[in-house]
Amino acid sequence: MRAVEPWVVGPLQTFVNESSARLALLMTASGQVIAQHGFTGALDLMAAAALGCGIVASSTEIAAQMRWPPFRILVHQGRRAAHFLAAFDTPRGRWIALVVFGRETKLGVVQVFFDRLVGELRAAAPPPPAPRREVLAADFEQELNASLRTLFGR
C-alpha cells in the first residue's frame, strides 16, 4: 500500500482487506494518483490511472448526451477478474477509484465495502490546502517524480 496522501492509507487498507480486492487505485478526476495497492510497475499504474479517468470521462459524457444523471459505478465483468470503476465526491474534490477483483470475492461485497470506504474518506479528509502559486513545468515534473517515489518506494 502506497499513498501520496497519508490519511488515505487506513481507510484504503481496510477496504482492500475486507473486500479482498486484488488491485486498488485512488486518483483525482484529472488522473493524479492518490494511493494504490497491488500495482508493481510505475507504467502500469499510470496507464491504469489514465485509462480509468478516460473511461469515467467518456461514460459521464454518454450519460450527459442521454440526459441521464452521471453513472455512479461502472463494472467490467471478465472471466478471471472484474474492474470496478467509480467516481465520488470528497472534500478534496472529485476522486475516482479503480478496483480489480477476482473470483475470491463478489461485486456486491466490493460495492458494500466501497460505500464504506467513501464514507470513511469523507470523514477523514483534512480541509483542502490553500490555493497554490502558478505551476511551472519544472515543478510538475518534480512533483510527478516525488509522487512516483512515494507510490513505489523508490
Binding site: 461485486l107 456486491g108 461485497v109 460495492q111 458494500v112
Partner: protein, 115 residues
Amino acid sequence: MPNYQPHLDALTRIRDIRGAMVVATGDGLVVAEKLMAGVESQPLAAMAASLAGRAADLTERSGYGLPRFLQLQCADGTLLVATGGPELVLVALAGRDAPLGLARLELLRLAERLA
C-alpha cells in the same frame, strides 16, 4: 423475468420471518427482496452470497458436492440460506420466535422451484 414476489410473500408470511431475498450467486447483488424496514438488503445479500460461495468451496473439497442449505444460528436470530441452482441464493432472516422447521421447508421448496 420470473416473478419472485409471490415466493417471497409466502416466506415472509411465516411468523417472525423478518425478510427474504433472492440473490445472484455470481455477484452477490439483490434480485428480489421483501425485508422489514431498517434491514439493509445489499450488505446482507453480498455477505450471504459470499458465505454460500465459501461454503460451496468447503463442501466440494470435502467431496460432498454443493451445499443445499445453511443455517447460521445467532444470539438474536437465525440466517437461513438455500441455493436455488447455480445462479441464485435464497436468504431468509428469522427472528428468535420463528418456526425454523417451517421456514426451512418453505425455503427448500422455493429453492427447488428456482433450480
